[in-house]
Symmetry: C2
Subunit: 662 residues, 2 copies
């Protein structure tokens, strides 16, 4: 089991190895940036799709709309840069909102981000696989299976570690960036050389003449659709803890790289789309080609470069799910630390990543994929809301933050004032964008997000409430109270007397003078041919009472209880409550000898009565009861087994063994 896990996930890492596990900008861009970079493919496409009714006239709008988006992107970059600086340990929206806007806002940010991250995984993978399937229609029947297989690969890579995942995806990421840099560079050069009207190598389908009139509403809708290109920009701020020291520097560097790549792509695409006259095609029609595919074909023809560019784009689309895998577990860890999520989310796993968060993300996304059969188009409208809600909350939080800083310093600091201004502009613009997105996409499906987020917040609050209750009950309020130190009454239950029960009795006599042996009969059913009571008592006298008396100890007494319903816990619990009634100020200890099973087939060969008795006693025994387990081994275990495989990296192990053999 452990060796299989080692093979798949690598050896268990020690806490002290955490610094070595952190990443720089090279792995940071593939790990966290693919959500943003991948958006460059569907942002412009979404904007053009809204403009499609305008026909060729749509091209007049794409440049100003892209310019607006780029301005927003620049504002976001500057303000997130500031956020990272101000909250160097974790500058995510959750922390910023918690520190500056209060719990309710932080839970809103957390819920929005969680929903967003889960949707991102499902949508990214199914979009990527849909692109693959449209290239190879023979794969269509396996869509769901391909989605789940991809999900599994990304999950395993992230369970190995954020760095591993980042390095694994570096090749497709940088191939994508390089190939589209070449395509855009070539395109721009040709466009300039041809005076703005380059001849396409593979010409895109011609655009119709203006069919509808343009208007502000259409432009707004197109802008809000294009804004999906910006989802993922917040990723770095949520994942700062993944970077190595100085984490602020690496985080900023990663953020800058991502924003630059995205900006150049968006600008280049907008320019070339207009130069080559490329519009969005109807996805539901046969022969559909994405905007980027038309663009690459127009600029470079359908040659090697085209296939490299489109192939790596497909990888990037699928792998943009990785951003969620980096940020979601880290977000959940912070939320769990504040007791709004189960504690297990806050525990670093085998490879120092938060396994529970990763597995939860993977399984929820898998459920979504299965529920929608691997085609998650309908989820897309729910998508951008979370991102822009988070943008707005984070920016607003930062405005409050700078405002407080200003108050603290008690004089007007022009630096702080400038920062406040940037974040205020950011908050306003993203808030407006959010309002536009909400309005334009409400009927299409955004209303679901509006319903889901409050439900998530309710759940988070309920979890916190439970922990608060448990905390209040278990909190240590006063020094240890030593009320009575009488040893407990010890009960040794058994179905037949063996060396196991001998050990249990011997131990019971060590800790208390009041020991009761309880023999249970009829455990196997009415035909159980157990020994007769008189015989039992005689054996007890010879085997137990006499040697104990000889050692100068009060001998334990024997109680024989029939089990009418073939369980040990029934008669035993009844007996215990009788003893408790007679001895109201004593604790009761039950000593259960247990044969330790080491292999799977041993589990099949034993009846697990010891385990079941323990569970029932702990469940129903009450707080005056203590359950003691005495292990009994067919072969004495070596505790080293439990430690060795984890204590040293596998490569060093033979060495360690040799050193010890000396």
């Amino acid at each position: 089991m452990n060796s299989l896990l080692s093979l798949i996930l690598g050896r268990r890492l020690a806490n002290r190895e955490v610094q070595r596990r952190k990443i720089g900008a090279f792995a940071g861009v593939p790990a966290m940036g693919l959500d943003a970079i991948g958006s460059s493919s569907y942002g412009p496409e979404a904007a053009l799709t809204i403009l499609a009714p305008l026909g060729a006239a749509s091209l007049d709008y794409i440049l100003p709309i892209t310019a607006a988006i780029l301005v927003l992107l620049a504002i976001l970059y500057v303000s997130y840069r500031q956020t990272i600086h101000a909250y160097p340990s974790s500058g995510g929206a959750y922390t910023v909102a918690k520190e500056n806007l209060g719990t309710q806002a932080s839970l809103l940010a957390a819920a929005a981000l969680m929903v967003d991250y889960i949707l991102n995984v499902a949508v990214a993978i199914s979009a990527g696989i849909a692109a693959l399937v449209s290239a190879f229609p023979a794969l269509a029947p396996h869509t769901l299976m391909l989605c789940l297989a991809t999900l599994t690969i990304i999950t395993l890579a992230n369970l190995r570690g954020t760095g591993e995942a980042g390095r694994m995806w570096a090749l497709p990421t940088y191939t994508f960036v390089a190939s589209f840099a070449v395509v855009i560079g070539m395109g721009v050069a040709k466009a300039i050389a041809s005076g703005g009207h380059p001849a396409p190598i593979a010409p895109p389908p011609p655009l119709a003449d203006s069919a509808a009139a343009a208007g502000l509403w259409l432009a707004l809708r197109s802008f809000s659709a294009g804004c999906t290109a910006m989802t993922g920009v917040e990723a770095v701020s949520n994942g700062i803890s993944a970077f190595r020291e100085p984490s602020t520097r690496y985080a900023r560097r990663t953020l800058l790289s991502i924003v630059l790549i995205l900006g150049v792509l968006l600008a280049g695409i907008a320019y070339l789309v207009q130069a080559y006259g490329i519009g969005a095609m109807d996805q539901t029609q046969d022969g559909y080609q994405s905007v980027l595919s038309q663009l690459a074909a127009a600029v470079a023809g359908r040659g090697v470069l085209y296939y490299i560019a489109i192939g790596s784009l497909l990888c990037v689309l699928v792998l943009s799910a990785n951003t969620s895998f980096v940020d979601f577990p880290r977000l959940c860890q912070m939320v769990a630390r504040d007791s709004f999520l189960p504690r297990a989310f806050a525990v670093a796993g085998r490879r120092l990543v938060y396994d529970v968060g990763i597995l939860y993300l993977a399984s929820t996304a898998a459920l979504l994929l299965i529920a929608f059969g691997g085609i998650t188009d309908r989820l897309i409208p729910m998508f951008a809301i979370g991102a822009f809600l988070t943008f707005t909350l984070s920016q607003t939080g930062m405005v409050v933050h700078w405002h407080r800083e200003q108050k603290k310093t008690r004089h007007v600091d022009s630096h702080v004032a400038a920062r406040l201004a940037v974040n205020a502009v950011g908050a306003t613009t993203t808030g407006v964008a959010l309002a536009v997105i909400l309005t334009t996409k409400f009927i299409e499906g955004a209303w679901i997000t509006v319903l889901v987020i409050p439900a998530v917040i309710f759940l988070l609050r309920k979890i916190r409430q439970y922990y608060d209750e448990v905390g209040a009950r278990t909190r240590k309020v006063e020094p240890l109270a030593i009320t009575h130190v009488d040893p407990p009454i010890v009960i040794v239950p058994t179905e037949n007397w063996s060396r196991l029960t001998d050990r249990a009795l011997a131990f019971a006599l060590q800790i208390s003078p009041d020991v009761i042996g309880v023999h249970l009969t009829s455990l196997n059913g009415p035909d159980d041919d157990s020994e007769k009571e008189t015989h039992l008592r005689e054996q007890w006298r010879i085997d137990v009472e006499e040697p104990v008396r000889a050692a100068g100890i009060t001998p334990p007494r024997l109680v024989v209880l029939p089990s009418h319903y073939r369980n040990i816990h029934g008669p035993l619990l009844k007996f215990i409550s009788e003893v408790e009634e007679k001895q109201p100020d004593r604790q009761i200890a039950v000593v259960i000898p247990e044969l330790v099973k080491l292999t799977w087939w041993q589990h099949l060969l034993h009846t697990h009565r010891a385990r079941r008795l323990r569970a029932a006693l702990l469940r129903y025994g009450g707080s005056r009861l203590v359950v003691m387990n005495i292990p009994w081994y067919l072969e004495e275990p070596r505790p080293a087994e439990a430690l060795e495989p984890e204590a040293a990296p596998p490569a060093h192990r033979p060495h360690v063994i040799r050193a010890r053999a000396r």
Copy 2:
């Protein structure tokens, strides 16, 4: 959970209710007899199929072959009657072979019976469903699902109890018997009235003229095929323990009923087949009709009687799986009592039947059905071998038994001699039949049985060997040894100090003066911001050391251990082995406080470190370790909850509660 089980299976039964649960002959025939009675449909058909190449001439052979089968049946009846008399508690082949032929023979009988019973379930259900599907071809795509649904119903009925199952199947069974009694009676009357050549109402397809020459080999093959009509006759002898007292009488009465029904059916079918000129049709051809269907149509026409007869036959075919459900768990119980099967097979369950055997039978049969897609024709050749092997072993065992009886009485007892003779004839005939079946069916698939049975025996022996080993190691060989009575060194591990740990510490101080508190740090990962060691030590001094010293007890010491790999057991096991080395003659007790979870969502909200620590300590701790669990409740449990629902039948419960409220 418990109430759901109560609804499906009925309340848990007490051991003392066992007599009321046993059955008489009325329920005995449907419970155990359907395997034998159902055979009347495929035995004659199988014999006629072998004779089919003879065409019309086949009808000359069917009477003598049936006569031979009836003689064998009579011998089997008499000898099983004797067996039941001689072994009134369980006269199955396993017991008889064990008592008279030794372990190897008894295991051979057990393995043969087990394989036979499992095959019977799969074959019976799939044959019944195949007949249903051939009547309603629209059901064909659901064959497997229908098989599994039927299996589930039969399994649930038998989990409720053998009597419940018997009474549930009484209606279809006695309908089948009555309707075919009428058909055969009418047919015979018509045949006699018409001088041996009755006119069929719905004429069967005409038989071809003799196409091939008959021979001894063909007759032998036909006889051995017809012998499948006898499988299931041994069922009563294996299930005697299901009958109420005097069980011998009820068992004999049931056996007699079954054999009489079967004999009359076989004789009537053979006579009418010959009178009406009915042959076996090719199952692979369209328009196939079974022999019994042709016969019922010929005698009674396709009216109400026909449909009642064929409908109840279909039920009987499906329900003949029930015989296995009665006998297999009882056989396994006996084998498990002799330690050749896991102990769980010998434990009477909720409803005083052997649940584990029933569930094992059901799941193995389900696997067979799934593996063969619900069409188990290919399993049929493997089928009769087990039955005839058991017949032979049981008869041979009885011969040895009577031989011993003769020796015991030391004079020739004519009664015993007669019985020996009957069983000797039985053994010889069934032995010959076994040889014929093996020879004729070897290539068709009987060789698989020949391979599987030794494999099962090997497994049974391995299981016994394991139990013998465990038994030898755990057997109590001498009176209780009181070597040293020093209290153990008690370790109280914790991740943070709360009222739970206070209770654990207070208990530890009750049982030993040597207590060590172990505080584990860095459990959640490298970022774990646990309290500083100096702060901890200060708190320990005030909260623990001072009050304990004030109570006049040696205060426990505190050890702080960092957990590099985020588990409690690693550093703790290392610490324990250090303590053990220093104190070679003391036991170590670890006290684990555990918050008891009562609902499923509580399980999600806690990290289960207490449970995992206990498992690791028991697994690796070694035999000087004792693990103590101190339960801690958010709400004190009422032990009555664990007892009440099972202590009294549901109908009486309100009464009990009222009586207590006074």
